[in-house]
């Protein structure tokens, strides 16, 4: 069966972890090798052995969060991606078809101003502006906390915690955020702006696996599933 890849290239990081997964319930993925190329020039190549070693998943865990799946593998490619450049990522695992994808990394950008009227976690008015990242498809603006309130067990996608984000092609925002978005939130809070390329934005903003009629997200991996995308993240604290 085909491989599922999740790769988010980040030009602020010295290495790019490649998360490799199989179908739920499928057998352990054996030896995995991954390579990154720019204009057919090999930038990095690495592989992991037949069985998973302790710590193999750590780079993927740090980049992509906590995940599940017994057959997961993680390969770390040591190269720094550059904004505006196009990269090919290819993953080969024994007994599986090769999975590959191409993506363009957004350019570096900076938050140039921000202000917040009101007191979090109440209703606030947020104003922010940032420089342009020409290869970004959308800027996703969020307010990040640190955790949900203790004992809060409801999953955010089940609508008991309202998710807030704004996706815009513009480089400035002025928006009022209702206090209900912070009912279960614990600060301190930060303003995050993600410059996402089209591949990653489409993958993260589409699909739904939490319904009786699940629909897969838009994916760009050829010969497999998942996404190879890129983002640039800028963050400023909103509270001391």
């Amino acid at each position: 069966m085909e491989l599922q890849l999740v790769v988010i290239l980040d030009p602020d990081r010295a290495s790019q972890p490649v998360l490799v997964n199989g179908m739920l319930g499928s057998s352990q993925i054996g030896r995995v090798s991954a390579a990154a190329r720019e204009a057919n020039v090999l930038l990095a190549r690495d592989s992991v052995g037949i069985s998973r070693t302790e710590g193999e998943l750590l780079p993927c865990h740090e980049r992509y969060g906590g995940f599940i799946g017994l057959g997961l593998r993680c390969v770390e490619l040591d190269f720094v991606s550059i904004g505006g450049a196009e990269y090919d990522i290819e993953v080969i695992a024994e007994g599986r078809p090769a999975a590959r994808a191409r993506t363009v990394v957004p350019e570096q950008f900076a938050i140039v101003s921000h202000s917040i009227a009101g007191v979090l976690p109440g209703t606030v008015t947020l104003n922010a502006a940032w420089t342009s990242s020409p290869s970004a498809h959308r800027y996703v603006v969020t307010i990040r906390g640190t955790q949900y309130k203790p004992g809060y067990s409801c999953r955010p996608d089940a609508q008991c915690f309202k998710r807030w984000l704004v996706a815009t092609p513009d480089t400035a925002i002025s928006v009022t955020i209702d206090a209900s978005y912070f009912e279960a939130a614990v600060g301190p809070f930060s303003l995050d702006v993600y410059a996402m390329n089209r591949d990653l934005y489409a993958y993260l903003m589409t699909g739904d696996g939490n319904s009786f009629f699940p629909v897969a997200p838009i994916q760009n991996v050829v010969g497999g599933f998942g996404v190879v995308g890129a983002w640039v993240v800028r963050s400023v604290p909103l509270q001391p």
Binding site: E2, M23, Y64, G65, R144, F212
Partner: protein
Amino acid sequence: MMAMSNAALALLAALAGGQQEPVSGTVSGTVRREGTRQVVVGAEVRVEALRRVVRTDSAGRFDIAGVPPGSFSLRVAALRYQTYETTVYVGRGSAVRLDVELAALPQALPDVDVTVAQVAGEARHARDLFEATVLPAVTTISRREMQSLPTIVEPDVMRSLQSVPGGVVRSDMDAQIYVRGGAPDQNLVLIDGARVFGTHHMFGMNGAFNPDAVERVDFYRGGKSPRYSGALSSVIEMEQRDGKRDAAAEGGVSMLGARMTFAGAQDDERFRWMLAGRSTHIDAAVGEVMPYAFRDAHGRLGYVTARGDSLTFSGYGSTDRFRFGGDDDRSSLLGRTSNAVASVRFARRGKSASIASGLWFSHYGAHLNAARDAGASRTENGVAVAGWRLDIQSLRGAFLLRGGTDVEVGSVVLDGGQTHGGFYSGSTTDRFVKPAVHGELEWSAWNWRLVPGVRASMSTRDRGVLVEPRIAARRTMGANTTLTAHLGRSYQEISALRDARRWLGGPNLWFVHPADAPASRSDDASVELSRWFGDRWSANASLYARRLYDNPHWRPEGVRDLSSVSFDDGNAAGLELSARYFGDLLSGWLGYTLSRATFKRATTGEGYDAPWDQRHSLNGALLWRVAAKLHLSTEWRYSSGQSSWPFLGDVVTSRFEPFLGRLSWDQLTPVWSPTQVRHEPYGRVDVGARWTFIVGSALIEPYLSVQNLFGRYNVYGYGVSGYPPRLMPLPTPGFPIPSAGVNVRF
């Protein structure tokens, strides 16, 4: 009990001395209901020794000419009357007059006479339909056949259509109709002239119509009259049952539910009525296993004037309700679908001209809550269409003109609330007014009938005037052999969303093709060689080729809205061979179909086989009246396996969690193979038996059916393994599905 009113038996012994050659005589007369002046129409008058059978006309008269001198046994039989038998003596050149009075049966009659009369009526209608329509591949199914075929749970109108030659059956569970490479939503389903949009119960597993309330279904697969529009592939025209003078009450109880039909008429049968209802009870019995309920109701009220004008009011309604997957609304898949259909029709028929007009209304609603949070994922689909039509027909010498006009006014709403997690996530509302004119001219000469015709209608979405030309021709060779050809073009602008990868697509979700998308189009060519062997046998060989343009194909990825629809071109072609027999004891059909249906995806250029592409299919049905009280039936099918994009499994996928600034890995999304695989051949034998006995004034008829008698694998019996994916039989094969119930008639 029976009587001959006047000179019941007349013998004219006109013997001419010295003549060597016999001179034939005639036997004629009138058949009436005993003790009244009411004539019996359609009574069968049979002289067995001469193999002569005639039927009484609308005045109850019959006339048997060319009877040689001698003594013959004559039998008169009619539905709901006791059969009358006598001996007639016919002299040379004599005219014997025989007026017969038939005694009405005092109670539910033994099924034998009913069956004989019904079968003869079915054969006559099939022949009449064939003669009236210059079209290839026209089939008709009667109520008796629908009720007699082996059932899954209970008799089913739509499943009986699947059984006719050329029908495609994708799985044991699927009761949808796939015609000549077309999808199920490309069938125009009409009940008493009104369109029905929700044609199935239970996600497509059962037809939405009560077979007791439907008199017959005429199934046009090889072309259609310009009267019809809005569907590319076929017309399924249902005529509801009319009441008769002898009021009937009949019903049944099956494992699924119960149904009841009442029908009757005034003595002269000018005023007729019918009312039928059906409801499931399985949900009440085992609601946890089967949390699904449906109800449907049929009604018809008709009046026929002395000169034959008719006015008919019809109604049909249905509801489906279901809840799967949880104990409360927040964790369940909830749904409700409904139909509300009504029509009124007037018809006046003259010797050389006729006129018919009607109003109809059809509403279809689907309400689905399809995620763990019910309030967040509601999908609404509403179709409301009202129509008016006027059809005229005029015969002038060798020319028969048929024409008319119609207009449809309607709206289609498809709204997913623009939230994720539902069956649909977009939102569209379309309102339309669609006037149309149509006409065709039939010219008959030298054993030819040539019928050019055209329909022109306004598009529902700013596509201008849609012109649908057609031409049909029939060459009659001898008394019983015909060659019929048809060329035609059809458009369809309202289609149903169905994820092509799923075996059961769920309730229909209708949408109007968006303004930036084309109307679907079909260019059809079909030719059929037909032969009748007497009144009972017919055989057909039909070839067809279709070019299909812009057929909606939905494989939602990313979002479940119309942006995931590609409008694909394709081709379908096939050969259909069939034979059908209308016998008193034995009736049925046998067919072979060679077909191919392929498409090319407009968005990617990928070629694929239609999921209902079955290359070879051999099927048949046999209805056997073993004895007056015992009927057996069987239906069988053996088909090439069709292609599919198999479900490979689920992958864990992530969503963006903005508050925590990371990915949240809590989603399971399905993975379907991007390449098609072809299933193993599909085979099935179904059997059924009905016993009939009378208790008091009731005719009791218990029945037993077994579907898939030999437990063969069907499409649900396979899993997928390996890469590239291969179908592997699951450890558990298919299994026979028994059904039992009892019908009651008063």
